[in-house]
């Protein structure tokens, strides 16, 4: 664990402790399970975003993709009678296609990630609304899919399956980013794409893979969300989710300039954001202030981090100076 991760963990615990003191309902089993469920749901696509951010890119279409794929998933099952595993496979395939498309536009046509995915945000949202004629896509009354229900909204030993999925993917992501050759290449491409090319890394392939990983995880997340809400209102479903993801990644130490960040950090970032949401509810703060609280905490966190960094630099400098004063009584002077 990096120092940054530890700092974030302390912050999460501190916020949790304060909320508990003010309103002990925070640690009631029901509240914890609900919060954990939300952490799992939001965590999946936050990890997805981190893989793109680490390459110095950005993915802004996450919320729209969740809406579009959610609409398609429910519609395939509810209106077309497609067996759910087939619908799931179709959704995952579509998510990979979207990732490939983004990666291709960014690497081959050299478009900026911000522009490509901003257009994606607008386009997918539009298609989702058009697809249902702006209506809500939902399961018709009496639809019974016990297996699907169990897999995506069920619990095992009291733990929501979204949390288990999040834990599994977070672990895989940690190994992938911090222990594999591919992970090192991701960091390298994000830190200095030119030097990565000159080191023999196929930078275009690495970048495309990052976008595909991102949308693939988003696709899985889309199904979780669709099953969580049971009906998808395409004009509002998933709105601003990409910004949650970016916020979690930034809290977790990912630089938008690319090349740095830790998976443990994003996980803690997701936890912190959900605990803050919970805090707004439990402390009776008007829910309209929700975003303001979140923004303020992120800002304070980032400022504290840079200040702490500067402080450590200064301290190291003083140590070196002290050592110098001791060792060099008579430095060699010219001539």
């Amino acid at each position: 664990m990096h120092k940054k991760d530890i700092g974030l963990a302390v912050l999460v615990l501190a916020v949790g402790a304060i909320v508990t003191l003010v309103n002990p309902r925070f640690i009631s089993p029901i509240n914890l399970a609900n919060t954990a469920n939300l952490i799992g749901l939001f965590g999946l696509f936050s990890i997805a975003e981190a893989f793109v951010i680490v390459t110095a890119g950005i993915e802004l279409s996450i919320g729209s993709v969740i809406a579009l794929l959610g609409v398609i998933f429910i519609d395939l099952i509810a209106s077309h009678g497609v067996p759910w595993p087939v619908a799931f496979a179709i959704v995952l395939t579509l998510s990979v296609v979207i990732g490939l498309l983004h990666g291709w536009l960014i690497t081959r046509l050299q478009l900026q990630p911000f522009v490509v995915t901003l257009c994606g945000l607008l386009i997918y949202r539009g298609i989702a609304r058009f697809y249902t004629r702006d209506g809500t896509a939902g399961f018709s009354f009496g639809t019974d899919l016990p297996m699907l229900e169990h897999l995506f909204v069920g619990r095992t030993a009291g733990v929501p399956h979204s949390v288990i999925a999040f834990a599994v993917f977070a672990t895989l992501a940690w190994f992938l980013l911090h222990r594999t050759v591919f992970g090192r290449h991701l960091l390298a491409v994000g830190k200095n794409e030119e030097a990565a090319r000159y080191s023999g890394i196929d930078t275009k392939r690495v970048i495309v893979t990052a976008y595909v990983l991102c949308t693939f995880l988003t696709g899985i997340s889309a199904v979780f969300f669709a099953m969580y809400t049971k009906s998808v209102q395409p004009s509002s479903h998933g709105n601003f989710y990409e910004l949650y993801a970016i916020a979690a990644a930034v809290l977790g130490g990912f630089s938008l300039r690319g090349g740095e960040g830790s998976i443990i950090g994003v996980v803690l970032g997701v936890v912190l954001l959900q605990v803050l949401q919970n805090l707004v509810n439990l402390l009776g703060i008007p829910s309209s202030l929700n975003f303001a609280v979140m923004g303020a905490v992120i800002l304070v966190g980032v400022i504290a981090d840079t200040q702490f960094h500067a402080y450590r630099q200064r301290r190291r400098q003083l140590t070196v100076r002290a050592a110098l004063a001791e060792t060099s009584e008579a430095p060699p002077v010219g001539l």
């Binding site: 090319r197 400098q317 002077v333």
Partner: protein
Amino acid sequence: MSAADRISLDLVGITKVYPSAVALNRVSLGIRGGEVVGLIGENGAGKSTLMKVLGGAIAPDEGEIVIDGRSVPHLTPAAALAHGIAFVHQELNPFANLDVAGNVLLGREIRRGPFGFIDQAEMARRVRPLLDMLGARFQPTTPASRLSLADQQLMEIAKALSTNVRLLILDEPTSSLTLSETQRLLAVVRRLRADGVAILFITHRLAEVEEVADRVVGLRDGCNAGELGKGGINRDAMVRLMIGRDVAQFYTPPETRLGEIVLRTRGLRTRANPNTAVDLEVRSGEIVGLAGLVGAGRTELARALFGIDPVHGGQVEINGQPVPSGSVPAAIAAGICLVPEDRKSEGLFLDFSLAQNVMMPSLATIATAGFVNRGAELDRAGHFRSRLAIRARQLDRPVSELSGGNQQKVVLAKWLGLNPKLIILDEPTRGIDVGAKAEVYRLMRDLAEGGAAVLMISSDMEEVIGVSTRVAVMRRGAIAGVLSRKDLTEETILRLAVG
């Protein structure tokens, strides 16, 4: 400039400490109007830090700055400018979207009329005499984007002169200039000295110091290493000053045991020079120098060989096998590697550790099922650190903390794990100190004697002649001629390069 206007500046006992190192340890330096002082020292000796102190960019932790007999406790950049101290930095950053006059008078634009619009014509009129004095062959209205490196340098000097300069600091001003451009620059330095300007000349090119300096100040490991007066300035004395010992056998070409042809290009045409074909052979065991003027197409050739740019036509062969064009991984698989010209942007990941940098191209060789073996990574990196004598205490500290020479060794070390058949080095010793240079040459020699083919691009004549077994000279995208070792002189190379 009247005698009273001439600057008198003394730095006394300047100390500056950074978190990771002591940059300056009680360094003293004096300079007076009308003299040229050469400041020499290996990279990391503290030259840049001393410059920044002079410019007010950083405040020293201890010591005194005395200008015109008065102590200046807090020298700010604005105060430095007001005292007539001006810089020409090693790395030029002209505003390519402005013209020459706009660059020279940046921040001091001349305005006109009630709305304060910029008066282009008046600015051009002010700048023209400066350019004339410097013998520049471009106009105040020339867009900066069209200037060569040498002309950009002149533009920067014009900018310094436009501020009524009394002390001009030149940091590695000739590192990217050709021979004739360098001569032009030195002539400007002499003219300014005659006018009473003090000039602090920082360079690794000792021949230039010898030619133009009145006095030489040496720095070593952040301390004063000594001074040389006018009579005592010669190459050997300066080298001794910089590294504290003699460099024996500085240039030694490899023992020639020529082997098979490793690299052969057949009618290779690069994208930069699509109309000229390059036919070049490099054998195992030799170091071929690739000489030529800046812009002759040498870097473009290297990029094409290494697969950074796709070739426009023709073919590259390694050991008789064609290499697919336009793919770096394919070039590396064929046994080609490249030490690029710009180590900071193309060679290194500055925030990454030494071990991560060194192992970047050969990570796959120490991985099992895609997982990096981190113990092996440190072991291998440690091995290369000692083989190349890279001066870095910790393998897990970022390479940005290393000096230029050690950084360059890291770039070289990246490729050693892959046992390259052809190693291309593009300006491998630019801006690095004498000691590191000697080690780079030693490594090139080792590689050649171990059977690799070495192709070295260099604009440093002394170096090309000193270390090459053969020299190919490029002119306008084509090979103008190949010189064997016995025919190597500056004159024969220049004649081919200029044509």
